[in-house]
Amino acid sequence: MKDKKPKNVFREGPISSDFIGNSIYKHQTKTSIGAHNIFLGQVRADEIDGKTVAAIDYTAYEDMANQKFHDIRESAFEKFELTCMHIYHSLGRVNAGEICLFVFVSSPRRKVVFEALEYIVEAIKADVPVFGKEIFEDETHKWKVNN
């Protein structure tokens, strides 16, 4: 299941629950899988200095980001006994309550998926050049920083 060339991880706009449900459905033919673990990042309507976040507008250094996603993928397949791994990240506007990150790992055994998923999500947060402009209801903005 290894890819040699970076795929495009980015999707324009939010990731729909239908897309996620369908992705789960497609794994039901893979009967060596015993455990799936899914992480979803959702845009929070945070209140900052009295103003509420209405959406995040995502941009990325796409070539480098897809290379980093690819490196994370390769490294996760090396470290963990995974059957499948899928990563999708939004670009453009994602409203509060909508999903901007979908990471999906599958393995014969459950212990593996917990470790692998956390490893992948932390690596995405730390290593991938994606930028988020938090847009407030009054259309002013603030740049988001991962902690």
Binding site: T59, L101, D127, V128, P129
Partner: protein, 77 residues
Amino acid sequence: MVVTLKYFGQIAEVTQKEEEQIEIKETLISELLELLYSKYDGLKSKDFQIAQNHELVTNETAISGAEIALLPPFAGG
């Protein structure tokens, strides 16, 4: 040498552009940065990392003539 410079997020707000090509005689990233600080008011106070050929580099890295990007803090996910 001609390098392509890419700016993202709040860095692009300072430079007022997302990309440019410039002719330089500098050989280290730190020298390129001095040039950009003098060109773009407010850039020096910004927090960013630098990537050359899609890999993060330090101030002491030699410029190899490729694409150089100024990356503000990551906010993926």
